[in-house]
């Protein structure tokens, strides 16, 4: 009950006009980003990051959160109306959404997707609120040794699950660690890898690299994406969700939301995998599995509930442990750091108003998106036809101004562009960008923790396995590292995860 009271206070705080306006702005931008083929939630959050950081406090994170879950709503529009996934988490929506549109039921499919997204979001927020407090309370007992072990566990999961080639996942992680070393050494103050440039003495700003690696790289890789397919016809009245469909899809909604949430919590898995698993499960337990893929509302409801729920599940490791489990939450972590907050269990004890106001803004944004999606669908469908020759220069200009505004530095803008170019090469060669960016975020923390612990123990490595939680986590890390070997022996393949969400 106390948690519900805190959430209610948070919702009231999020009704502040400034915070609410930023939530809506983020949600609308997210809808657009989600609808545009080629750009996904990570790119959207990365593009908005420098701009949102200027809003400060709760408004900044409310805006970034709005982009994240807004894009989950928006992706379905393109999937249903054009048969092209707006973003990776809406790939499964195409399977039944587009056939429904071809049968003249585009409005019904869109209405179902909006309702499913809302239900998934609602249950996801409930899970986020219910689990955050106990997990953060438990994490408060973690010392530097346990945090080191937890980071190793999360990073190994990300590297193993994040891409097709595990070796490349670890190379990307190591490159992220190296980027995190650039600047003055945190303990001896020795400059490392700065090439004598004063601009690099403070290290590479994570947000600048993230904006390039996810935002600009996504744009650079979709320069030729121009929509030239006709949009399926629908009427505004047909968009309104039907009670009969809600009743008919109740189990798919529940199963998709619950599965999506728990898959979302796992580092390195994310919303795309959640939708695939949810769709597969819905089909498997259905009495009429042969109807899936032919255009039925159940096939739209299951993945749409799952991807929205997963987006909130993915925020649990970020807010409670300070360890982002996906690319999008990693970029959101950049937002928290830029406004002067360190995500982790202390956030709940030192800034409870902030945390609950942010969660409150999620609840408001989720509800507002139902109306925004219904109202803006015609506009978003029209926006899909804006040629990239007009749209991308505008988006790139916003990114350039936003990145410049972080430190009033043109050097940062140049670094972002270089990171964008590097992002193309990484993506094309299957080097996952998520471990790289998390290596950059967590590498300096990990190095500091390891070195401080070793200084205290006078170089005794056994200190890392003396405490039971740390030992358990290190054993779990070893098991995770062996996953690819087990899968190979069993002849199974992994589901490619969050990397495609960019």
């Amino acid at each position: 009950m106390e948690t519900l009271a805190l959430l209610w206070d948070g919702i009231l705080a999020a009704t502040d006009p400034g915070i609410f306006a930023c939530t809506i702005l983020g949600a609308v931008v997210g809808l657009l980003i989600g609808a545009l083929p080629g750009l996904g939630p990570t790119a959207g959050v990365a593009i908005m990051l420098p701009v949102a950081a200027g809003f400060g406090g709760v408004a900044a994170i409310a805006c970034l959160g709005g982009v994240y879950y807004g894009s989950m709503f928006g992706g379905a529009i393109t999937s249903i109306l054009l048969g092209i996934p707006g973003d990776a988490p809406s790939v499964m929506t195409v399977l039944d959404g587009y056939p429904m549109a071809q049968k003249g039921e585009a409005g019904r499919a869109l209405g179902t997707s909006v309702f499913a997204s809302f239900v998934g979001g609602l249950l996801g927020i409930a899970g986020l609120v219910a689990l955050s407090v106990p997990v953060s309370g438990y994490a408060l007992a973690f010392g530097p040794t346990e945090m080191t072990a937890m980071m190793c566990f999360a990073l190994s999961l990300l590297s193993v699950l994040g891409g097709r080639n595990v070796f490349k996942g670890f190379v990307a992680l190591a490159l992220g660690f190296w980027l995190g070393m650039v600047g003055l050494d945190p303990i001896s103050a020795l400059p490392r890898y700065t090439a004598g440039s004063m601009n690099l003495f403070d290290g590479l700003d994570f947000s600048i690299v993230a904006v390039g690696l996810f935002g600009l790289a996504a744009i650079f890789m979709s320069l030729e994406v121009n929509v030239d397919k006709p949009v399926a016809k629908y009427t505004f009245a047909s968009l309104l969700p039907r009670i009969s469909d809600a009743v008919r899809t109740r189990w798919q909604l529940l199963q998709g939301s619950v599965l999506g949430f728990f898959v979302g919590v796992l580092p390195g898995v994310g919303a795309s995998a959640a939708t695939m698993l949810s769709y597969a499960l819905a089909k498997r337990i259905s009495a009429t599995p042969e109807k899936y893929g032919t255009g039925i509302v159940e096939g739209v409801a299951a993945p749409e509930a799952a991807n929205n729920s997963a987006s909130y599940g993915a925020m649990i490791p970020l807010f409670t442990l300070g360890i982002p489990g996906s690319a999008t939450t990693a970029v959101m972590m950049g937002g928290l750091i830029m406004i002067g907050l360190q995500p982790g269990p202390m956030l709940f004890t030192e800034n409870p108003e902030f945390v609950w106001s942010v969660f409150g803004s999620f609840a408001l944004g989720n509800l507002a998106l139902v109306f925004l999606t219904l109202l803006l669908t015609p506009l978003l469908a029209a926006a899909l036809f804006i040629p990239t020759a007009y749209l991308y220069p505008i988006v790139i200009a916003i990114v350039v101004y936003g990145v410049f505004a972080i430190d009033n530095s043109a050097f940062n803008v140049m670094l972002t562009i270089v990171a964008g170019g590097a992002g193309i090469i990484l993506a094309r060669l299957d080097y996952p960008a998520v471990p790289l960016i998390l290596g950059l975020v967590l590498g300096p923390l990990l190095e500091r923790n390891i070195r401080r612990t070793l200084i205290q123990s006078q170089g005794d490595l056994l200190v890392f396995i003396e405490r039971p939680i740390a030992l358990g986590l290190f054993i779990a890390t070893l098991l995770v590292l062996l996953i690819p070997l087990f899968l190979k022996l069993m002849g199974r393949k992994m589901i490619a995860a969050d990397e495609a969400e960019v």
Binding site: F167, V171, A174, F220, L223, T388, A389, P393, I394, Y401
Partner: protein
């Protein structure tokens, strides 16, 4: 260059890069008595990059790595042109100011991405390229208080 050849090249470069990291790490100092030095992590990370990239190089040379089609020459050329346009604009900021540099970069990028011809395209692109930086100038400078670099023309 084919995507497979690029994969081989990058893997080979990463092996060299990893070894260089180990070398620089030794220079920074791995241990000072029982205390880990600034070079410890570079040595570990460099070794990992060199070793894992050697595996990747072996896989790439042996044709074990299955990659997508990669970018077409046209896509790659467009991406390169956009990146160059942006880098030139950033370089020109101290001379032209951010507003004019952005206007020129936007026009350049729009021309690179052009899919339609005729005067209507140029009018629209000019409008987008001129209006967007002005709106951004007002937003960032006046609303958010960011000191946007100016040209000799005063904006």
């Amino acid at each position: 260059m084919s995507i497979q050849r690029l994969d081989q090249l990058i893997a080979a470069l990463l092996v060299i890069f990893g070894l260089w990291l180990v070398y620089t790490g030794i220079g920074y100092g791995a241990m000072q008595g029982t205390t880990p030095g600034a070079g410890l992590l570079p040595i570990i990370v460099g070794s990992a990059i060199a070793l894992l990239s050697a595996v990747n190089l072996y896989r790439a040379l042996g044709g074990l790595e299955k990659l997508g089609a990669g970018m077409s020459g046209r896509e790659a050329a467009k991406a390169a042109a956009v990146i160059v346009a942006l880098l030139v604009a950033v370089w020109a900021i101290p001379y032209l100011g951010m507003t004019i540099a952005t206007m020129l970069a936007m026009a350049g990028i729009g021309l690179v991405l052009r899919t339609e011809s005729g005067p209507r395209f140029f009018v629209r692109l000019a409008a987008v390229s001129v209006l967007t930086p002005i709106v951004l100038l007002l937003l960032f400078q006046n609303l958010l208080g960011v000191p946007i670099p100016k040209s000799v023309f005063g904006f």
